[in-house]
Amino acid sequence: MDVLLEIMEPGQSLLPHQTGPGIPKRVVGIDLGTTFSLVAAIGLDGKPLCIPDDDDQCALPSVVHYGADQSILVGRAARELALSHPEATIASVKRYMGRGVADIQAHMSTIPHGLETGDGGMVRIVAGSSRVSPVEVSAEILKALKKRAESALGGSLQGAVITVPAYFDDAQRQATKDAARVAGLEVLRLLNEPTAAALAYGLDKGSEGLYAIYDLGGGTFDISLLKLEKGLFQVMATGGDSALGGDDLDQWIVERIRTETGMENPDPGWIQACRKVAREVKERLTHEASVTFPLPGADTTRTSHITRTEFEQGVRDLIWRTIPICRRVLKDAGVSPDALQGVVLVGGSTRVPLVRKMVADFFGREPLVDLDPDQVVALGAAHQAEALAGNAPAEMLLLDVTPLSLGIETMGDLVEKIVPRNAPIPTARAQDFTTFKDGQTAMAIHVVQGERELASQCRSLARFELRGIPPMTAGAARIRVSYQVDADGLLTVSAREETTGVEQSITVKPSYGLTDTEIADMLQEAMRHGETDMLTRLFNEAKVEADRVLAAAGAALREDGDLLSEAELQRVKKAMLAVWETTQGSSADAINEAVQKMDQETRFFAQRRMDRSLQQAMTGRKVDEFA
């Protein structure tokens, strides 16, 4: 016992095998894109680099194929099977994340798959003989990137920053986080794509001032306005459309071919073949004024012809949809276009010349295109992962905002906004509601997200049933509903009856999420395909967390050990030792329990450290002055 305690003396690494503060953690940034996904890490020179596959390709096509023999293929191999096995091959799954069947059918006219509704409301895709959730499909893409990164970095990953469109709603964010969990990745942070791009761009160029990041990807559009300063990148306002991107430009070409060939009810094979042609035509039109291309179908000699002018006339309205959004973001931030230092283009679809022209016309300046628009998001995410892992000195602070207003449905389908859009996160807001019937003991709460005035036109996030309100006369109860948005942009709702102080029991039913059973099944399924079993994985996850907690405590003792009396120091060390002992066993539950106990035992220390931090921030001012 004494020996072990000696090893844990401040200043020394805790235990020989352990990742101490001096050893950098293996972390990555992941751009989980609609058409392509990338993984990046910080190289030896401190600069971020995309990690290529064996064929030296960085971009992994976001395509997953489900074989009849239960095998799963991801990337180019899967994309090649899209033509021969269209029903069993899923592309652009990002457009399905956190969505219901009706949403998807409203936004996409030709879908090569059957769609069903899962237990938690989120769509299920019929892929050959499998029924898969978009979360599982995304998890396969994440697993492929994880594997690639682990072999390049020489060991298992200790965390990842995953990017999401800034305009993703709560359900889409939660689905992305669930996908990482199924893939066995620890999410250090969900980072907004334009913010990640700004980080990479700003750090690379040393830029300061106001910048607009115009990000048009395969399936999503974001525009963010950021103030870049030394040590601080602050998002002023953000806007977008999470169902608008290069896929829609392809779709216009698909429709044109469909009309031209008189195809009435295209089969999945035709749709996939046509999409492939459309993508190629769009890319060629970037450099060529007109393109002759083979028509999809049995007759390989049939060709068609399209000019850039015709294409631009056809997609002008689609691209124009981004402009009022840009205008509103400038307005929200109270900024005119001439106050900007630059407009940075991100996302593959910004290669389309008409996009560049319309952006240049609106902002009154030529946009900046000097960083690879496909890679910049992943590179920014790698920077942030490095900072969050504590590998790099935390000098840069990123401050982001909520993309959409969060509200609650009130009577008559109206929305009461609780958190406004563009509120800096993390944030918390509360609103009081009352009963409208005598003796009312329950209340239904419907959480919505969006800018429309009618609840039915906003995104439904969840429904709550609030029970156990003490019976009172109508209007006497005061129910405070609190919304907390964390640094990932994820929402937690709680409710409390204020006159009695009773915290209300809440049952959450996400509108387009996954049930706990669905997630458990996915984890099981993921195990079945993997090399490890469930118990081993749970143990490994618990052990990683225990190691992290021990390292953090070791660092805390080194930095602020002087805040503890000798007796208190021994108490902390005893709790640490108890955790360490469980990591030598084989039970995940034992570790989790010890970690939790250690957190309780050392809470006073955490509080004192926080007070010291506050004091440092307030130099010369006393903590109790503002606590």
Partner: protein, 179 residues
Amino acid sequence: MDCFRLFGLEPLYELDLPTLETRQRTLQKQLHPDFFAQRSATERRLSLEWTTRINEASQILTDPVARAGYLLSRLGWQADRPAPDPEFLEEVMTLREILEEVDPASPDALAKLAVLKTEARARLQADQQRVSAGFQECLSGAGQEALAQTARHVDRMRYHRRYLEELDRLEDRAFDPDN
């Protein structure tokens, strides 16, 4: 938690906004969850709570309307709404009529809305000055009547703010009919 004390500021309506911004930054750089990702669960939770408080307080203090509402409650003003002022009600009726006459589809809608916005901003500005003066009186010991008078002006600010938001919505529609 007192919003002013959090940033070490005097509880006044006229604030030194650059100082507020600097102090907010200093606190963020010490307490933001990004710097606590590798810490214990308790420290992460405390960091989240403090950062949330900082954001909340700075939102209240930087917004002239929210700051006025906050100062009112801090000075003990109870009523949600002061008794309506008949003169203002008349003004509201006139403003409403003007708003109803705007057709966002007409070709001169944007120009018309720009003029209306300038006027609305001027009214908001004027009321803000009255609110500022009112708070100076209240803080130097004037009684309940001064507080009620200030509350009425704050209410007018709220109205003008909402009016501006409606003009904004019309402007969005004039710019993009699909909106």
